[in-house]
C-alpha cells in the first residue's frame, strides 16, 4: 500500500518533469491521465471478472456534456463534475439493466448500448453536427479567462490531481468489503449470495462508480482537445480502455495510469513514424503483453521492485 503510493508519487513527479522538459508532450500526458481515470473504472469491473466493451459511452457522455453546456456556462470547474454526474446517471440507468448479465452477455450488452449512443451522436445532425463533431467553446477557470498556455498547464494539473484522487479512492475501494465482494463475483457468485450479499447491488455500485470516472475523463478530454466527435464513443474506443487496463496490469490503480501513459506515447510516436501502421504496432504490443507479461507493465515493475500491491 505504502509502496504503491510511493511509486505513484514518483510517477507523478516524472510526468511533471517530462511535461516541463518536453512542452508538447503536456497535451499527450493530460489525455493519458484522463484515459487513466476512465481505465480505473474498467479495473473495478475487471475485479468482478466482467469486461465492458462499451465504456467509451460514458466518456462520450462527459465530453458531450461539456460541448453542449460550455456555450451557456463556460465554467470548467462546474462542467467537470456535471459531466461526471450525467455519466453517473446514465450509468445507473444502463447499470440497472446490464448487472443482471454476466461474461459475454455483459460485454455485448454494453457494446450494444454504447453503439446506440454512438449512432445517435452521429445521426442527430442538428444537435450534434454528426461526425464533424462540436468545437468546444472556450472555458473559464473559477471565473478567470486564462491565456492558452496557462490553461494547458491548469488542465494538466487538474488531470493530475483528479488522477491522484480517483486512484486513491479506487485503491481504498478495492481493499474495502465492497471491493472484496467484487472479487467474489468473479470466483463464484452463488457463494456470495449465500453470505447474504446481493451480487447485483455490489456490481451496480461498481458500475455507477466506473461510469462517473468515465464521465470525468470525458470532460477532461473535451476541455483539453477542445473538440468532441462521436468517435469518442465508438466501440473501438471502449476496446482501447480495456486494452490499457490489461497493458498496465489489471491488479493496481497505478497500473491504469502506467498503461495509459505508455499507450498514448506509443500511439503518438507510432503514428508519427509509421502513419498507416500505428494500430498494427499497438495491436502487436497488446499481443506481446498478453502472451508474455500477463501482469502488465505494473506486474513487470512490481516484480522488479518486489512490491506486492
Amino acid at each position: 500500500m505504502i509502496a504503491e503510493g510511493l511509486i505513484a508519487l514518483v510517477g507523478a513527479g516524472v510526468l511533471l518533469a517530462v511535461a516541463i522538459a518536453v512542452p508538447w508532450l503536456k497535451f499527450v500526458l493530460t489525455i493519458a491521465l484522463a484515459k487513466g481515470i476512465a481505465v480505473l473504472g474498467i479495473l473495478l469491473l475487471l475485479r468482478a471478472g466482467q469486461v465492458s466493451f462499451g465504456h467509451a459511452m460514458f466518456l462520450a457522455t462527459g465530453a458531450y456534456t461539456v460541448a453542449f453546456l460550455a456555450p451557456a456556462m463556460p465554467e470548467a470547474l462546474l462542467l467537470i463534475p456535471l459531466g461526471g454526474l450525467f455519466a453517473g446517471l446514465l450509468g445507473l440507468l444502463v447499470g440497472l439493466f446490464v448487472v443482471r448479465y454476466r461474461d459475454i452477455f455483459f460485454g455485448m450488452l454494453n457494446l450494444a448500448i454504447s453503439m446506440v449512443l454512438y449512432s445517435l451522436l452521429e445521426k442527430l445532425y442538428h444537435l450534434t453536427k454528426g461526425t464533424d463533431g462540436i468545437r468546444v467553446a472556450r472555458a473559464t477557470y473559477a471565473g478567470f479567462d486564462l491565456p492558452r498556455e496557462t490553461q494547458e498547464w491548469l488542465m494538466f494539473a487538474i488531470a493530475l490531481g483528479l488522477a491522484a484522487l480517483f486512484g486513491t479512492l479506487v485503491a481504498a475501494y478495492l481493499r474495502s468489503p465492497m471491493g472484496r465482494a467484487l472479487a467474489g463475483i468473479k470466483t463464484r457468485e452463488t457463494r456470495l449470495e449465500f453470505l447474504g450479499v446481493s451480487a447485483r447491488r455490489v456490481l451496480l455500485f461498481a458500475y455507477v462508480a466506473s461510469a462517473v470516472m468515465g464521465g470525468i475523463a470525458g470532460t477532461l478530454v473535451a476541455l483539453t482537445t477542445r473538440h468532441v466527435t462521436p468517435l469518442l464513443g465508438y466501440w473501438t474506443s471502449s476496446g482501447e480502455l480495456v486494452f490499457i487496463a490489461i497493458l498496465g496490469g489489471a491488479g493496481s490503480a497505478v497500473g491504469a495510469f502506467l498503461g495509459a501513459v505508455a499507450f498514448e506515447l506509443v500511439r503518438v510516436y507510432a503514428a508519427a513514424s509509421v502513419a498507416d501502421a500505428w494500430q498494427m504496432i499497438l495491436g502487436g504490443v497488446l499481443l506481446l503483453v498478453i502472451l508474455f507479461a500477463p501482469g502488465g507493465l505494473w506486474g513487470i515493475l512490481a516484480g522488479r521492485l518486489k512490491v506486492r500491491a
Binding site: 459475454i104 450488452l109 446506440v116 449512432s119 476496446g239 480495456v242 498478453i290
Partner: protein, 311 residues
C-alpha cells in the same frame, strides 16, 4: 392505418426486399461467429475483419479477372475463390499461432487477443488496399434487375440481391444443419461444442476439430464479405461495423444457435431496412434495440439454453 399502408406500401415493399438481401449477408457472418464460439468458446472480435478482407480480396480478384478479359461469369468465381483463399490462408494461421496459445485463459484476455488481431488486420487492409473506396459491382449489374410486382406497382430490384444472396444464405443454413447432424465430422463438432472433455475421452481429436471449425468460420465470414462486395463500395471501417452487428445477432439468437441466428438476422435485417426508409436517423440503432428488448425478456437469448448455476 389502411390509408398509411396504401401511401407507403411501395416503400415498405422495397424495405422488405432490401432487408432480405441485407439479412442474408448478416447471417453469413453471424453464423460463422456463432460456430466458432460454440467450439472454441472464444468471441472472435476480428471476425469482422475477415469479412472485410474477404470483400476486398473478392473485389480485387474480380477487377483482375475483368482486366484479363475474362467473361463476366468469372466474377462469380472470384467471389468464391476469395472466400476460400482467405479462409484457408488466414484461418489456420490465426488458430494455430494465436488462439491455440490462449485456450483456457481468462475470457477477458481471449477477447483482447482477438481485439489486438482486429487492430492489426485493420491496418493490413489499409496497407494493402489503401483508404480510397474500392468497388467492383459487375457480378450484380451483370444479372440485371427484375420487376417485382407489388400491388398495382412494380419494384425494379437487382436479381443478385433478390435471388443470389438469399439463395446462398439458405443453402448455407441447410447445408450447415445437414453437415452438423448427418456427417461424422459435423457430429464431432457438435460433440466438442457440447462437452470438449467427454468428446476427447471418446477419441475425438479436439485440437483438429477446433482448427477445422475456425477455418470454416473464417471462410464463412470471408464469403459474406465477398458476396457483399458487389453491392457496395468498400471503405476502411467496414469490418468494425460488421462485427458489432453480428455480435448483436449472436447474442439475441442465443450462443451456439444456427437456425436462431438465421431468424434473428432476418428480424434485424428487416427492422433495419424499414428504419432506413422511414426513420433514417435510427437505422443503426434498430438492431441493438431489438437485442436489448429480447434480452430483457429472455436473458439467454431467443433460442439459448439456460445454464444451471454452480455453487
Amino acid at each position: 392505418m389502411v390509408g398509411w399502408l396504401q401511401d407507403n406500401g411501395l416503400l415498405l415493399g422495397l424495405a422488405a426486399l432490401d432487408g432480405l438481401a441485407y439479412a442474408a449477408l448478416v447471417f453469413m457472418v453471424a453464423v460463422g461467429l456463432n460456430l466458432v464460439f460454440g467450439v472454441l468458446r472464444i468471441v472472435n472480435v476480428a471476425h469482422g475483419s475477415l469479412f472485410a478482407i474477404g470483400a476486398y480480396t473478392a473485389a480485387s480478384l474480380g477487377l483482375f479477372f475483368a482486366s484479363q478479359g475474362l467473361p463476366p461469369l468469372a466474377g462469380y468465381f472470384a467471389l468464391v475463390l476469395a472466400a476460400a483463399l482467405v479462409g484457408a490462408l488466414l484461418g489456420p494461421l490465426i488458430e494455430r499461432f494465436l488462439l491455440r496459445r490462449i485456450y483456457g485463459h481468462e475470457e477477458v484476455l481471449q477477447l483482447l487477443v482477438t481485439f489486438a488481431l482486429f487492430m492489426i488486420l485493420e491496418d493490413v487492409q489499409k496497407l494493402v488496399w489503401g483508404v480510397q473506396p474500392v468497388s467492383q459491382d459487375l457480378p450484380m449489374t451483370y444479372l440485371g434487375t427484375i420487376d417485382v410486382p407489388f400491388g398495382d406497382d412494380v419494384i425494379p430490384f437487382t436479381k443478385y440481391q433478390l435471388f443470389v444472396l438469399p439463395g446462398i444464405a439458405v443453402a448455407t443454413l441447410v447445408g450447415l444443419a445437414l453437415f452438423l447432424r448427418r456427417t461424422l465430422a459435423g457430429r464431432m463438432i457438435v460433440a466438442v461444442t457440447a462437452d470438449k472433455e467427454a468428446a476427447t475421452a471418446m477419441g475425438i481429436d479436439a485440437t483438429r476439430i477446433m482448427l477445422l471449425t475456425f477455418t470454416a468460420g473464417a471462410a464463412l465470414a470471408a464469403l459474406g464479405g465477398a458476396l457483399a462486395s458487389p453491392t457496395t463500395s468498400l471503405v476502411p471501417g467496414v469490418g468494425a461495423q460488421t462485427i458489432v452487428l453480428s455480435f448483436a445477432v449472436v447474442a439475441t439468437a442465443g450462443l451456439g444457435q444456427i437456425e436462431g441466428a438465421a431468424l434473428t438476422s432476418l428480424m434485424m435485417g428487416l427492422g433495419r431496412s424499414v428504419a432506413v426508409y422511414f426513420a433514417p436517423e435510427f437505422e443503426v440503432v434498430v438492431p441493438y434495440l431489438i437485442m436489448v428488448a429480447v434480452l430483457l425478456v429472455r436473458p439467454q437469448g431467443l433460442f439459448g439454453v439456460l445454464e444451471t448455476r454452480r455453487v
